[in-house]
């Protein structure tokens, strides 16, 4: 189960075979699919042999544009430094010097090409070098971790700060909570700042192994501040764990457990989508004065490559990000699914010519145009939202977007029932719309927003998630994970509703 050499290879390939497109589901607009089993490969990678036999393994990286070529990744230094919401650690110094931090950001800073595990390593290194109380521990972290996220940290910062723990998840998180509670109190503290105790950065080797520690996270970490009336806290605790599917992880290495954390007030759950995001969000999570579970989509460790600023910066927690603006449909997602949604949008706007997909899209968009009174040349624009912080999530942004688009699709890998998507759907349509209170902290009229979002709905809120099976079965993993076909189908269904 914990064979390291095989685990570290888990991330190396994404294999999605065109012959395994799910056809058994009730796809409203998927009438032509049976005649188009090779269309996706022609659409995505023209050089792929479309006559490839079903017996032959698909090319590494799959048939669609790979994550690496995603337009959502910052491939240049310029793009990287202009990342929205980026907060440079030395920005205050900069302002004190009288210089505009923005100008320095775009002129004076370095970026380096990193994949996600390198960016996470960079964030951990930054945390260790800027905070003497920071310790990094977990199973096998001292020799680099099974995904190499802590590679070389033990040598650089000492084995008393970066160390292996026994295979004891419950013990590891309990240990981290104890360390983080030490010195924590209101006002100044002996270890971290903002009333925090020690900075404990624990790693659970896979999110699938977090369950023994769930009690510690739920009953100790999330409640420590509340039940002590603010006398103690474990704000310095960050629990990192690789999450989501890799294509062949199976029941114990491909789960997405974030939905189970939705009811745990006091805890934060963060899932980044890219190297640049991972570094900024992880540093935020480590410095955030609340306990944070930081889940890293393990397929992205190697496949997502981006220009990442080398200096110390953070990205805000609790804030979603609009990746592409649109006016006809809001797609809310996070983690690996961001790229599948991007690919689905690509299929929607550029359906492969002459394929079943093209006919399906054409039919659906015809319905959409008729239903909305659009002219024949108009095509829908999709607003893609990366949630980033799953708990507490950015409901105002979702409502703002929904007031504009009137259609909402939520996509994630975790099980649908009791999952994040159902929570968001529930929040949008629940009695919260009737609140009499007027303004939220940034002065928005939440009542009006809720009302507009709810009354303006042109279609039911749709959730595309994993199936409610006991887990991600090895051979069914491709069917379990919402792929671009299922997402496209959902988008068409909502547009034509």
């Amino acid at each position: 189960m914990r064979n390291i050499s095989s685990l570290s290879r888990l991330t190396t390939t994404v294999t999605r075979s065109t012959s395994q497109i799910p056809r058994t589901q009730s796809c409203l607009y998927w009438r032509h699919i049976s005649s188009s089993s090779s269309t996706r490969s022609t659409a995505a990678t023209p050089n792929t042999d479309s006559t490839v036999s079903a017996l032959e393994p698909p090319p590494a990286g799959g048939h669609l544009p790979s994550i690496t070529s995603s337009a959502l990744l910052k491939h240049t230094r310029e793009q990287s430094l202009k990342t929205p919401g980026i907060l440079w650690a030395d920005a205050e110094l900069d302002e004190a010097r009288g210089a505009s931090s923005l100008s320095f950001a775009t002129t004076g800073r370095e970026t380096r090409k990193m994949n996600m595990y390198q960016a996470i390593r960079d964030a951990l290194s930054t945390a260790l070098s800027t905070d003497d109380s920071a310790i990094v521990f977990g199973e096998d972290v001292a020799f680099g971790g099974v995904f190499r996220c802590t590679h070389g940290l033990a040598e650089e910062y000492g084995r008393e700060r970066v160390f292996n723990t026994p295979l004891t998840e419950q013990g590891v998180v309990g240990f981290g909570i104890g360390y983080a509670s030490m010195g924590s109190k209101l006002g100044d503290s002996t270890l971290g700042g903002r009333g925090m105790g020690g900075t404990a950065i624990a790693e659970i080797q896979f999110a699938d192994y977090i369950w023994p520690a769930f009690d510690q996270l739920l009953n100790e970490a999330s409640k420590f501040r509340y039940r002590s009336g603010g006398q103690f806290n474990v704000g310095g605790l960050t629990v990192r764990c690789p999450t989501m599917a890799v294509g062949h992880g199976g029941l114990y290495h491909s789960q997405s457990p974030e939905g189970f954390f939705m009811g745990v007030g006091g805890l934060k759950v963060v899932i980044p989508r890219s190297p640049l995001q991972a570094k900024g969000l992880l540093l935020s999570a480590i410095r955030d004065p609340n306990p944070v579970v930081f889940m890293e989509p393990k397929i992205l460790y190697r496949s997502a490559v981006e220009q990442v600023p080398t200096s110390d910066y953070t990205l805000p927690l609790g804030r979603a990000e609009i990746l592409t603006t649109g006016s006809d449909l809001t797609v809310v997602t996070y983690g690996t699914s961001v790229y599948r949604c991007e690919q689905a949008i690509h299929l929607l706007t550029h359906p492969p010519q002459g394929s079943g997909i093209e006919r399906t899209v054409k039919d659906a968009l015809g319905d959409w145009r008729r239903g909305t009174g659009k002219n024949m040349s108009s095509s829908p624009s999709i607003e893609l939202v990366d949630l980033r912080t799953i708990l507490p999530y950015d409901l105002p942004l979702v409502l703002r977007s929904l007031s504009k688009t009137h259609r909402l699709l939520i996509v994630h890998e975790g099980p649908t029932t009791g999952g994040v998507g159902m929570q968001i759907a529930g929040d949008v349509v629940s009695g919260l719309a009737l609140t009499t209170r007027e303004e939220n902290s940034i002065g928005e009229d939440m009542r009006r927003m809720r009302k507009e979002a709810f009354l303006g709905l042109e279609a039911p809120v749709k959730v595309i998630g994993g199936w409610d099976t006991p887990g991600v079965a090895l051979q069914y993993e491709k069917f379990y994970i919402p792929d671009e076909v299922r997402i496209l189908d959902g988008m068409l269904e909502l547009l034509a509703y």
Binding site: S133, I135, F163, T165, P166, T168, Q170, G171, V172, V173, G174, F175, I177, G178, Y179, A180, S181, M182, G183, K185, T190, L191, R194, G195, G197, G198, A200, D215, Q216, N219, E220, R225, Y226, R227, S228, G229, G230, Q231, F232, G235, G266, D288, P289, N290, L317, G318, P392, Y393, D394, L395, P396, G431, L434, T435, T436, R437, E439, N440, S441, M446
Partner: protein, 398 residues
């Protein structure tokens, strides 16, 4: 079951001579020289007060002072009065929810406090009221918390199991969950090179939790200044130690961690062992140590347990009359001529009135404000946009 019991009975009878149970008599300590009014003097603890596992016995000769013994007496008496007051308030339905009392176990909490320094850390299970007071809290703070009032040490948000002071990391409601936390706290002490240690308390019931062994392993692996303290009151809820544990010698269950079993009914032995453990972890830096205090709770596990369904009334009565820690200390004080019965009665009276006054003060405190429902969830300024309230119309925006 009945056939099992028949089969087992002869075996248990046969085993009894081989089980060496510790003497928990509370008054076997002997005076060694003349008891002084002001100067410290020496007493000798009974040699059966300690059993060891891979370590030497603590010294049996202990230096004590009159003031300290009287102070211990006053504290034990006050703690018992406080727990009795909680019992009465619970039965009057003023305290609701869960409530675990430590009546009978006073020598452990008070003895522990006398053996450690202010800067040492303590974390324990849900049976936490006396430790919360002794570690810098107040009686009105504890009773107020039980009553759910603003004066409570967690402002009424915690209740019985959730009381903290800067050096006391709380009662913890989940059986055994505080033990790995104790290891983490001890790691922080080692990391910051503080000359302090952590006393991590748990019960004989929690001793069978998996995470207790996880914490043992980490503490020994990294030689953390952590003293694991098993408060063995012989029953994990309604199950006796013999029925729940294959090895009831809890002080031997740390594997490579040396252990010391202590008569937890004799406060002088408790204090001596705590000082020994502190030297072991802090001064001699020998890593963790396991202490087992053999003690007894007179009441039920919690308020809903009468405490008489799994043990006989006679057993409880016998413990009360022969091994009570307060009576034991009282006998020393009287026999060694440190105070008269009259003077001790006066202390009892003062303890009662201290507690009565605190109870009145706690009762007078208001219940928490509605707004506090939403505070202390996330660090101020980092909250989500809103939290739902008690009814449909009530949404709290941060």
């Amino acid at each position: 079951m009945s056939s099992l019991a028949r089969l087992r009975l002869p075996r248990r009878v046969a085993r009894i001579p081989f089980i060496r149970t510790i003497q928990t008599t509370a008054d076997t300590t002997q005076l060694q020289d003349n008891a002084h009014e002001t100067e410290p003097f020496w007493v000798k603890i009974h040699e059966d007060s300690f059993q060891t596992y891979n370590c030497d016995k603590p010294e049996l000769d202990v230096k004590v002072t009159k003031n300290e013994l009287l102070h211990m007496y006053r504290q034990m008496q006050t703690m018992r009065r406080m727990e009795m007051a909680a019992d009465a308030l619970y039965k009057a339905k003023m305290i609701r929810g869960f409530c675990h009392l430590a009546i009978g176990q006073e020598a452990v909490s008070v003895g522990l406090e006398h053996g450690i320094t202010k800067n040492d850390k303590v974390i324990t299970s849900y049976r936490c009221h006396p430790l919360a007071v002794l570690r810098g809290g107040t009686i009105q703070g504890v009773i107020g918390e039980l009553l759910g009032r603003q004066i409570g040490m967690s402002h009424g948000k915690g209740g019985s199991m959730h009381i903290f002071t800067p050096s006391f990391f709380g009662g913890n409601g989940i059986v055994g969950a505080q033990v790995p936390l104790g290891a983490g706290i001890a790691f922080a002490q080692k990391y910051t090179e503080e000359a302090t240690c952590t006393f991590t308390l748990y019960g004989d019931g929690a001793a069978n939790q998996g995470q207790v062994f996880e914490a043992f392993n980490m503490a020994k692996l990294w030689d953390l200044p952590c003293v694991f303290v098993c408060e063995n009151n012989k029953y994990g809820m309604g199950t006796s130690a013999e029925r729940s544990s294959s090895n009831t010698q809890y002080f031997t269950r740390g594997d490579k961690i040396p252990g010391l079993q202590v008569n937890g009914m004799d406060i002088i032995a408790v204090k001596q062992s705590v000082e020994y453990a502190r030297r072991w972890t802090v001064e001699d830096k020998k890593g963790p140590l396991l202490l087992e205090f053999v003690t007894y709770r007179y009441g039920g596990h919690s308020m809903s347990d009468p405490g008489t369904t799994y043990r006989t009334r006679e057993e409880v009565q016998r413990m009360r009359s022969t091994q009570d820690p307060i009576r034991g200390l009282q006998r020393y004080i009287e026999e060694w001529g440190l105070a008269s019965e009259q003077e001790l009665k006066q202390i009892d009276k003062e303890a009662k009135s201290t507690v009565d006054n605190a109870v009145e003060e706690a009762k007078a405190s208001p219940i928490p404000d509605t707004k506090d429902l939403w505070t202390d969830i996330y660090y101020a300024g980092t909250e989500p946009p809103f939290m739902r309230g008690r009814e449909r119309e009530e949404i709290h925006h941060y």
